[in-house]
Amino acid sequence: MSATEKIEVRAPQVDRAPAQRGPSKVGAGLRGRGLAVGAVMVFIVAWEMVPRLLDVQSFIFPRLSEVIAKLTDATTVTLLYQHAQVTLYEALVGLVIGIVAGVGLGFALAEWEPARAAVYPFIVAFQSMPKVALAPLFIIWFGFGYTPKVLVVVMLVFFPMLVNTMNGILSTDKSRLDLFRSMSASKWQIWSRLLLPSALPSIFAGLEVSVVNSFIGAITGEFVGADAGLGVLLQQFKNNYDTAGVFAILVILAFIGVALNQIVRIARRRLVFWQ
């Protein structure tokens, strides 16, 4: 059943690939995919068998089937769903705010030298500080609701976006700037047609970091003090020695992480197609 499904899904890609990449790479791609599928299967089997063989107790390291049981149990699923919504909300809101603010200020600082000189020491100081350490402070200031978590996420997203945007713009090829100046391009044309595209690869590199960071921020914020969210649920499960539940949350976090990462990579491939 699943084998036929896989073939159906893959078939169009195999058809399309030779025209774009040539036959040898398709072979290598299939082989690579085969290896990946094999590795995943070994991992699944090992997760189920190794704890069984070593006779590890379930609350130390649950078997895969126990984790799957959690992920299919109706009450647990409802619980996971409700708390995941909270975490997802905090992470995504923080992500959007952090991206907009980081990219915006990155552009401004790249454009305006004096501001860059003034702000740079602070950026360096913040960059080298573990920003999650601000979480307790935000809880004191803003209570146990969404705000402090969103703020932690913003802190973790803002700086990589700011630094990458700024550096991307500042490392624009000087001869291309000459080209635009020689064509008497307006400031706006230089920004939109040269600096932004030049900075895109760097902005996307920042985005990949930021997506991961956003969930680190949300979960950490919830650890420090919250009444809802996957971080809270994680601690509840832990306190009940429900290790299978903890693993279920980790699996969900991994899935969300992979999904967001894929979205960023697809967007990157579309927007930065020339790299």
């Binding site: 001869s175 291309r176 000459d178 064509m183 391009a185």
Partner: protein, 267 residues
Amino acid sequence: MTERIEVRDAEVVFSRRGVPPTTALSGLSLDVEAGGFVSVVGPSGCGKTTLLRAIGGLQGLTGGEIRVGGDTVAGPRRTTAFMFQQPTLLPWMNIADNCLAPARIHRTLTPEYRSRVTSLLERVGLADFHDKYPNELSGGMQQRAAIVRALGQDPELLLLDEPFGALDAMTREQMNFDLNAIWNRAKVTTLLITHSIPEAVLLGQRVVVMSSRPGRIVDDIEIPFGPMRDAETMGDPRFSQIVAHVRGYFVKSQNVSAERSLAHVRD
């Protein structure tokens, strides 16, 4: 209308805090008549690019004056087309869009502009590559696309900074003849910087020889051939005489840095 260039006592000193200032050009004067073609040769680092950038309005002077078409150059001019030492294509645009970029920037994209670019692309053998991206082209093809971009602007002044340096000998010769043909039709004032003395002599109505830094003009040679140049031009005995004469400036030079740059100057 093509434009004449007048350079009067041009001086460019690069100074930054903490480093001793570099005098790239000093007291340089040069005239190019409207519709003329002047080649400039000189040792590496003597200020050729700086001179070209100053004429194009990309580099301010610290002394003297440059006039193009009678007006003092204060900044880049739309009627000037540049070709840089590197192709400088934009990787996110295909070849056709790269060549049309100046018109889009100037908001003057007309059907005539498009057809001019199309026929230029044909002429340089890139017709089939108009929808390819720069990273799909060889270095020589990129350079040819950059030539199309410059010529497509139908400029009144064409500033070429070693445009053919990255090309193989065969393509380079072909591009030389193409450039000569294009110049003969458009009679656009052209300044060509090159490290190849034969190329300078083949294409220029005059060849200007610059000294090592700070760049000054040490000779200005009228080339006795007509405007049309071809393979026979290079067979003319006067051709090799002039080439040898120009080469003499670089062999005689006692300056160490000029000696070192001989490798560039010899073709």
